[in-house]
Amino acid sequence: MLSRSPFLHFLTLLLFKQKSKHLGIMSISVVMIALVSAVLFISSSLQQTLQDTLDEQADFTVTRIEAGRPVSTPLAWADRIIEIEGVSQVAPRIHGRYFYAPREESFLVVGIDFFDEQGSKALESLVKGIDLKQFFAEESMIVGEGVKAFLQKHYYKDTFSFKTPRGQFKKVKIYEVLPGSLNLLANDMIIMPIGLAREIFGLKEDEVTDITFNVPNDAEWDNVIGKLHLVDYEIRVVEKREVEKAYENLYNYKGGIFLILYIIALLTLMLILYQRYAMVYSHERKEIGILRAVGWSIRDILKLKFYETMILVMSSFVIGTVAAYGYVFVLGAPILIEIFLGGANLENQVQMIPEVSFGTLGSLFLLYAVPFFAAVLIPSWRVAVIPPKEAMR
């Protein structure tokens, strides 16, 4: 049926026979759409994943600040915090960055407690077939993929020797590697028994890195903050919402460098469209004049140009977004991801969870399609309304 339609026949004829006219603008559009959608895909995927994990985060984290610098937090604060009304799930944590001086790179070492029932269960589900007793009894660690790759590169196959602040070496066995799907969170992470972590960081028995806790009633938050400052003069309180805001800003595509990228992309698009506008007005003027002279009405011309533009817009948008999707969610966005995660420390090959913000994608489509249609239809109309004789001249 379609093959009998003269209009479709002529439309495809013009598209394929004059492809050199369309290929340039289409390929530039595809590259731009792919670039902008790739950034959108990465940011929405990271934002979604981080939002999911942030939901699990404790409402408050407190540390001790001495002369403006964070120092070890006394474990005794935990007992005083638990006494505050409305506070629950108080958990002292030991974690910190271990600096590997020869390569100037660092790992995030986290100490975990065998007696933390919930944590142990989660660890069993995370590392299939883990023997918790053996793990906690031996001096061993579970490492992220980035750490494993780094250690292997530097000939640490099964063990790694940490240097403690007392100048001793602590040989720790690599028990297991965390799955690569967790790289966004755990690429540079080393999980080890809490005692071992304390030794590596040189913390005393009554010291921890920080203390986390929840305050289920939001209305109590400000009240609790007030009481926390009475616990100690050197207390520093980090709220969950502060952390949320920090990461939201970090990955918000509206922010900083991406805004510049968008502006550049938009300017390029406008420039291309202006060129298209000029091209329709000058080069296609005669063609429109001929069509008008042989009996095409203004409506017929605009219909032809509309469908021609629609095919170009739709196909370049689909190719651009699908290419961006493949680049981000199948290939893992090589190169571009470094803008988001940095590239100064361990190499991170993140596997991103497919997450598409259809609203933003729709806005991108409108931002691209509307000016494109205008850049073709307006000059076409301007040419079509003048007498055909003049247009053909």
């Binding site: 999911d52 994990t53 942030l54 989660a122 966004l184 420390n345």
Partner: protein, 83 residues
């Protein structure tokens, strides 16, 4: 030309279909569960950013990384223009 056009349109549809299929078949639930497990084990929610190690060296130096005060602040340009 119509055949070529229909061929190209079909190709685009197949490619789009593959992307949609990939999107719909992605196992988001188990992925999310694995992330929750990491948070439950470690209590750490900060993403594994590949930023340079940074220790506050001077008195009064501002620490602007709320999640991990020992790391450099997020508003430093090395973060964007990494090696």
């Amino acid at each position: 030309m119509i055949k070529q056009f229909i061929g190209s349109a079909a190709f685009l549809m197949v490619v789009t279909g593959m992307a949609v299929g990939h999107y719909l078949s992605a196992d988001k639930i188990s992925h999310k569960k694995a992330f929750s497990d990491v948070v439950a084990v470690t209590g750490i929610v900060s993403p594994s950013l590949s930023t340079a190690f940074y220790e506050p060296a001077f008195l009064g130096e501002e620490i602007e990384h709320p999640a991990s005060p020992q790391m450099q602040s997020l508003n430093r340009m090395e973060f964007v223009y990494a090696e």
